[in-house]
Symmetry: C2
Subunit: 275 residues, 2 copies
Amino acid sequence: MKIAIQGALGSFHHIASQQFYGDGHEYICCDTFAGVFEALASRGADVGVVAIENSLCGSITEVYDLLLRHNYPIVGEVAEHIHQNLITFPGAKLGDITRVYSHPVALAQCAEFLESKLPRVEIIEHHDTAGAVEYIKDHDEHGSAAIASTLAARMHGMNVLCPSIQDERSNFTRFLCIQPNGSLPPDADKASLVLTTSHQPGALYKALGVFADLDCNLTKLESRPIRGKVWHYQFYIDVEVTKLTLAEAIKQLESQGCIVKNLGMYRASYKDFDD
Amino acid sequence: MKIAIQGALGSFHHIASQQFYGDGHEYICCDTFAGVFEALASRGADVGVVAIENSLCGSITEVYDLLLRHNYPIVGEVAEHIHQNLITFPGAKLGDITRVYSHPVALAQCAEFLESKLPRVEIIEHHDTAGAVEYIKDHDEHGSAAIASTLAARMHGMNVLCPSIQDERSNFTRFLCIQPNGSLPPDADKASLVLTTSHQPGALYKALGVFADLDCNLTKLESRPIRGKVWHYQFYIDVEVTKLTLAEAIKQLESQGCIVKNLGMYRASYKDFDD
């Protein structure tokens, strides 16, 4: 199978894809999230794996907008505990390091580590964590380190000098698997919906009442502006639901005047705090 | 009064500040939103004006996080219709332009204009719209244009060659005025709250029911992750409310087990579609 991901091999997108789809697949590495959706549109890839939210930074709203625009069903989700690692040439020591390369988000996640352990190094931003490992390897920069996954270290024959250096232990990213013409997974127990309510006072409250009355737990609610309608919003909702109950919920929401778009049903991933 | 803003004089923050506070004030121009809050913390500024959301791009979540961290009350809001303009040296014509400078967001807002009217120009990103006008003026770049406000053009003695060139007419930004030790404006009719519900199914629905039962209209609901609590969220809520009703709502929410933080009450600005 051809899997489109954002970032290079060894990135956290690659790790999440392996966790969901297993080994033995071909990867299409895209520079941007839009590139992943384009790879699906051109049939260059069979499935795409995209990050949708991080437990520290929040939602990646660009991906929400792309999901709505392209309308490819979500068929799965993966939650990954993000461990950042200081990666060097084998044999290098902390005292040898004069430069650290990584993606700006990874650098920010390790700011306290860098300040306390490597206060005088030059910090250099790279567009990709795994790409930063490849860069120092290819440029033979023995005095440099990269911050990336252990997979990236292994793939490039480099050494994890300091493991799990992120400042906050509880750093998780949730990824979605999307598949044009994907079918409903038989064990699906969660749905992602986009809800447009009428612009009446209490409309959102009334809509959420449908889920409460049907005993469906909302796990996420995200608002996004509607283009061309100033200060009007759509709501992205994740809800624990069976196929039958979802059909009933959508029927009730539509009878209230809501416009509901089903982005897909999939098996929930409840991974957190364990690896 | 000393007003801290993000960006240079002539920026949309400057325009929003003038609209709210009138003329005759001193401006502290900060590179970042965090800088505005630091200027307030150090008493370098009396009030701060920060963008909180755009009708096309959505919320500026960094500002939500800063509001919660610093706890300075919101005392006002301003909605500005964002008009972008192509600004050149007086006498320059479209055919003379080989480069266009502006902030990446402003460039993106004018992408269709640039593609259709200036398909061969070099696009150069600048950290500030008004700063881009100053840059081409200072560097005597007669073949360059900047995209910025008419105020920026006027301040630097430059010409608005093409007015209102943004692709979408309905492009509004909402700004908040924050003031350490600010007092409740007498005409306040809207509040911004941060709500942390219990992690029970239906908790958000129950909380929104308090506002519905009190006939208070929610104008905004934004979720943000809680640091250190994976997949738990806080909700930023804007609600049309009187001082007395707000006190009642907070009492009821707290009796449900919600933690409520009042970010401030202020007079709502309902400006849209008119200038």
